[in-house]
C-alpha cells in the first residue's frame, strides 16, 4: 500500500523500569533491543496516574479536563464530546485497525465495547483467562491459595492453563501471521496497512507471573527504595493511601496502618521483586511479538508506552494515584519504519520458544543503551499526532481552548521531527556497522547531522559525541 503499518504496545502500570532507561535492576532485553533502534523519550509524562483517564487521554490526545474523565465511571463520547480516537483516525484513513488485550480501559469508560464500532475494524480480542484475575491462586506461606499482591505461579496450574498476556501474545502473533498470509494471497499487491494495538496487563497488580522469573531477581539482591519515608512538608492532600494494595490478603495480613503505613521492609522487598519479575515476564512476551513483526512486517512503526508510572515504596507510597514523578513518568519509545527502506538488519535475537521461560540473565548487570535519547519534556497526549505524522496521514489541528464540539484535534504536539532526525542517525550508524566503513568517512558524512543535533541540547551527549567527526 506504500503506507507503514503501526504497532502500538501499551503496558499497564509500567514506570521506566527498563534497562534502556538506565534501571540497573531491570532485565528487559527485548524492549532494550527495540530502544536500540529507536528514539527513547526519557522525560515522558502521563496526564493522570490512573488507567482509565490516562488511556482515554492519550487515545484522544486530550487532557482529562477536556475528556472530563477523572475516574472510571463514564464514556467520553457521551460525557464530554464525540472525540475521534487514535485508532479511529487511522481507520478513517484507510487502515485496518485491530486490538488485543487492554488498550482502552474496559467497562463504562469505553462503552462496554472497546469503543466499537468507532475505533476498530474487527472485534478487539480479550484473553479468556483475564476472567480469573481476582481468583485466589497465589500460594501463601500457609500452603493455601490466596488473593495476594505477590503472586508467582506455575502457569500450567492456573485456571485455563495460561495467563492473560501469554494468550494475548499468542493471539497477536497468530493475527500477524494471518495478515501476512492474506497479503501473500492478494493478487493486487499488499492489502490495507494495519494499525495493531496490543495492551499488556502486567505489571499491574496482582503481580502474577510465571514463577521462573523470580530466578532473575534473587530476593537478597532486590534493594529497597532509597527514599522510602514520608517526605517532610508533603501536604496531606497529596498523599495516596494505596488502597488497591491494602485490599489484598497478603497486605491485609500485615496490619499496615491507614493511611500512611509504612510497609514492612521485608515485604516491600517482595513487592519490588514481583514488580521487576512481572516486567521481565512481559518483556519476554513483547520479544515474541516484536520478532514476529520484524520477520513479517519490517515496514512497521513501533510505539511503546506505559499508561502511567507506579510507586515502588518511594515516599512510603505504593501504586499510582498521585502526581509524584514515579507515578506520572512513563516509558515512551518510538521506532520509525524508515529503517526498512535503509535495509538495516534489526538483529532481533528475541524469538522465544516458550513465552514464559525467562532468558538467562547477563553475568554483569549493566543498563542497555538506547538508540538515541531525547531528554526534552514530552507527554502522552503527543502520541496521537506523532503517529499520524510518521504514517503520513493528514496532520492534526491544535485544539482550541474549548474543543468539546471539535471531533478531531490534538492537545499535544507531534514529535515526528525528533523521531525522524534520530532515525536517520540510527540508520546511518547501522549502515556503517553493516558495511564496515571507518569512522572517519562516517563522521564526514554527518557534519550536517551534527549541526542539527548541536542545536538541540536535549539530545544525549553520548550519542552526540559518537556522531562527532574524529
Amino acid at each position: 500500500s506504500g503506507q507503514p503499518n503501526v504497532l502500538l504496545i501499551i503496558v499497564d502500570d509500567l514506570r521506566p523500569a527498563l534497562g534502556c532507561y538506565g534501571d540497573t535492576l531491570a532485565f528487559t532485553p527485548h524492549v532494550d533491543a527495540l530502544a536500540s533502534h529507536g528514539t527513547v523519550f526519557t522525560r515522558a509524562y502521563a496526564q493522570q496516574a490512573l488507567c482509565g483517564p490516562s488511556r482515554t487521554s492519550f487515545l484522544t490526545s486530550r487532557r482529562p479536563d477536556t475528556t472530563r474523565l477523572y475516574d472510571v465511571h463514564s464514556y467520553w463520547r457521551r460525557h464530554a464530546g464525540n472525540f475521534t480516537t487514535l485508532p479511529q483516525y487511522f481507520k478513517e484513513h484507510g487502515y485496518h485497525t485491530a486490538a488485543a488485550g487492554k488498550v482502552f480501559h474496559p467497562g463504562i469508560v469505553s462503552n462496554q465495547s472497546d469503543d466499537q464500532p468507532y475505533s476498530w475494524s474487527e472485534t478487539p480480542y480479550h484473553p479468556p483467562t483475564q476472567a480469573h484475575k481476582q481468583d485466589p491462586v497465589c500460594l501463601g506461606a500457609d500452603g493455601s491459595l490466596h488473593t495476594n499482591i505477590y503472586c508467582p505461579v506455575k502457569v500450567s496450574d492456573q485456571p485455563g492453563g495460561s495467563l492473560p498476556d501469554i494468550e494475548t501474545t499468542r493471539h497477536s502473533t497468530a493475527w500477524l501471521e494471518e495478515w501476512a498470509e492474506r497479503d501473500e494471497r492478494a493478487t493486487n499487491g499488499p492489502s490495507q496497512p494495519f494499525f495493531f494495538a496490543v495492551g499488556y496487563h502486567k505489571p499491574h497488580i496482582p503481580l502474577k507471573f510465571p514463577r521462573e522469573f523470580l530466578e532473575l531477581f534473587p530476593i537478597d539482591t532486590v534493594p529497597l527504595a532509597p527514599n522510602r519515608w514520608l517526605p517532610k512538608g508533603l501536604p496531606s492532600v497529596a498523599w495516596n493511601p494505596w488502597n488497591d494494595l491494602r485490599s489484598r490478603e497478603d497486605i491485609a495480613a500485615l496490619n499496615v496502618s491507614f493511611p500512611y503505613g509504612p510497609m514492612p521492609d521485608f515485604y516491600a522487598r517482595y513487592i519490588r521483586q514481583g514488580y521487576y519479575a512481572a516486567m521481565s515476564y512481559t518483556d519476554s512476551l513483547i520479544g515474541d511479538l516484536l520478532a514476529t513483526v520484524d520477520r513479517l512486517f519490517p515496514d512497521t512503526i513501533v510505539a511503546f508506552i506505559g499508561d502511567h508510572g507506579w510507586s515502588l515504596g518511594e515516599h512510603q507510597e505504593w501504586s499510582k494515584f498521585s502526581n509524584f514523578e514515579v507515578a506520572t513518568r512513563v516509558p515512551f519509545i518510538i521506532r520509525n519504519w524508515r529503517r526498512a527502506e535503509a535495509n538495516v538488519s534489526l538483529s532481533t535475537p528475541h524469538a522465544q520458544t516458550t513465552p514464559h521461560t525467562p532468558p538467562r540473565r547477563r553475568t554483569k548487570r549493566s543498563s542497555a543503551r538506547p538508540g538515541v535519547e531525547y531528554s526534552g519534556l514530552v507527554e502522552l497526549v503527543d502520541l496521537f499526532p506523532t503517529l499520524v505524522d510518521l504514517a503520513g496521514l493528514p496532520a492534526l489541528e491544535q485544539c482550541p481552548s474549548d474543543s468539546h464540539k471539535v471531533q478531531v484535534c490534538t492537545e499535544g504536539v507531534s514529535l515526528s521531527r525528533i523521531v525522524n532526525t534520530n532515525q536517520q542517525e540510527i540508520e546511518r550508524e547501522a549502515e556503517i556497522k553493516k558495511h564496515g566503513k571507518d569512522r572517519e568517512s562516517f563522521g564526514a558524512s554527518n557534519v550536517e547531522s551534527n549541526a542539527i543535533l548541536s542545536q538541540n541540547t536535549n539530545f544525549d551527549h553520548t550519542m552526540k559525541n559518537r556522531l562527532m567527526p574524529p
Partner: protein, 102 residues
C-alpha cells in the same frame, strides 16, 4: 497546523489528580475518588528543573478549578532533589519561582 509541526520541544509537561478531600484518613477513597465526590484537583506542571503542584478547590459540575482557592502546594527542585523528597514551597528563596510556575 504549521505551528504544531514546528514545535521541537516543550517547556512544560502537565498532569493532574483528583481528591475527595484534603485529609486521606477522613476520605478513605482518596486514591480513586468518584468524580461526583471530587472537591480538589492537583494540577502539576513540570519544567526542566521543577515540579510545581497546586491543589485547588474543584467544581465537579463545571469541571473547573477555583484558582483563588488553594488547598495546598508542592514545589520540588529536581536539580538538588530529583527524587522529590523536600517540598520547598514555603522557602522564601523559591517564592519567585513558585509564583512564576503558578
Amino acid at each position: 497546523k504549521e505551528r504544531n509541526r514546528n514545535i521541537k520541544t516543550k517547556t512544560a509537561a502537565f498532569s493532574q489528580y483528583p481528591r475527595p478531600g484534603p485529609i486521606p484518613s477522613k476520605n478513605p477513597d482518596s486514591d480513586q475518588p468518584h468524580t461526583s465526590d471530587t472537591t480538589i484537583m492537583g494540577y502539576s506542571v513540570r519544567t526542566d528543573r521543577f515540579r510545581f503542584t497546586a491543589w485547588l478547590r474543584f467544581d465537579n459540575i463545571t469541571y473547573r478549578p477555583d484558582w483563588d482557592h488553594i488547598v495546598a502546594e508542592e514545589l520540588y527542585d529536581h536539580k538538588i532533589d530529583p527524587s522529590e523528597d523536600r517540598n520547598l514551597v514555603g522557602k522564601g528563596s523559591y517564592a519567585r519561582k513558585r509564583k512564576a510556575l503558578f
